[in-house]
Symmetry: C2
Subunit: 104 residues, 2 copies
């Protein structure tokens, strides 16, 4: 799906890490939420609230998932899932365009 | 208005200047279009197609409008308008969150 239809978009951006990571919040008619975001090259640590699916639309990064021993490379067209209330780390090598789906 | 409702959002980001400027395209039921974007600190030159209203949601920049002699400071809560098919320059001092409305 290249376009989300019949949705609401919060006007104001979410900004983290001095703008290293920014996103827009999209609300769907069923009450679910996604964010569409950009990560600049850099190292970031995130903590989830809900379970998340991170779909990498374009870019190149390594992710260290919770309880994982090794970093895994993720590129445009690939996804990874993070459990709720977990901490994970990302090393962005190239500007990354992503879609994050929050699952409850 | 803090939220746009009943709109479509293109999933893929628009990326310019190596990610210095990124935005998401929002389509409205009346056929009009806006982009919600982020500008990292830096110097940028843009050329418009349609007339545009740039609403600065948060940030700090200077703009040199077409045919203007002087740079003008624009901060969060302020807007400026650019005619169609014109070139203008922006110097972003602090991470800037904006909403660009395209007028035909």
């Amino acid at each position: 799906m290249s376009e989300f239809t019949n949705v609401s978009v919060l006007k104001k951006a979410n900004c983290y890490f001095d703008g290293g990571v920014t996103s827009r919040t999209i609300r769907f008619p069923d009450g679910s939420k996604k964010t569409l975001g950009i990560m600049q090259p850099g190292d970031y640590e995130f903590t989830t609230h809900d379970r998340e699916i991170m779909e990498i639309l374009e870019g190149d990064l390594d992710v260290l998932l919770p309880d994982a021993a090794d970093w895994v490379q993720v590129q445009g067209g690939e996804s990874f899932e993070v459990p709720a209330q977990a901490t994970f780390s990302i090393r962005v090598r190239a500007l990354t365009d992503y879609c994050c789906s929050f699952l409850s």
